[in-house]
Point group: C2
Chain length 139, copies 2
């Protein structure tokens, strides 16, 4: 069932009860939870799990490259387990819902050499903003 857990095991990541629960909560295809939501859901299965552990684990997963941090502008960061396939986000301005979308080309190539100012450019985030169908009906 779990790509994420399997990949972690393969990498020799020590899989404690706490880490397993965090990884399980996070696993899925269009999941974009905040650290707090992860903590709440993890707490249902492992009531004593501490906030610190959830934060530590999430940060480790990000460092390992298994999970992506998605900044949604002022609010809490969200964590996206789908770090393996390049994708971008489409965020509803009203309700904050996130959809994954897929680029038809590598956007990093769009930055000309002359525009790099000596930076070592290693990543790019593309976030489309709009209003989702549900919010349009109501607005």
């Amino acid at each position: 069932m779990s790509d994420l857990l399997e990949r972690l095991r393969e990498r020799g990541w020590r899989l404690t009860a706490q880490r397993r629960v965090v990884a399980e909560v996070l696993n899925g295809d269009h999941v974009h939870l905040t650290a707090d939501e992860v903590h709440a859901r993890a707490g249902k299965r492992l009531p004593e799990i501490s906030r610190a552990t959830v934060y530590n684990t999430l940060n480790e997963l990000v460092t390992l490259g298994e999970v992506l941090e998605v900044g949604t502008d002022g609010r809490a960061k969200r964590y996206d387990p789908n770090a393996r396939t390049a994708h971008q986000h489409l965020v509803c301005r009203v309700c904050g819902t996130i959809r994954d979308v897929h680029p038809d080309c590598d956007p990093i190539a769009g930055l000309a050499e002359a525009e790099r100012f000596g930076f070592d450019v290693s990543g790019v985030e593309v976030t489309f903003r709009g209003v989702c169908p549900d919010c349009r009906k109501q607005g």
Copy 2:
């Protein structure tokens, strides 16, 4: 001298001493200050100005569309007065410095109709991540 102040006056924005100072501090071409930096600089000219007023004013400017909020990932938001010409940002992962860069085409066009899921897409933010020359020397 000031595009920003002029535009604000034209729009009938009440120009108090505090707001004027905030707008003046923010004015310029490659300015990306945090709210705290704005407060500090504004405080030099108007020592009693409060943090709350700086935040209020910045949020109003953002709502008016005269200033852009730039989220730099965990750190404090930065405010960019150059909301008039389309541009993107190149952010240093280490020190948080921001450079403006200019797209060679409209990135919003990169999102195929089939990928819009019924959203009314009205904007896109592109943020390149990398390490700036200064931080590379030290790292």
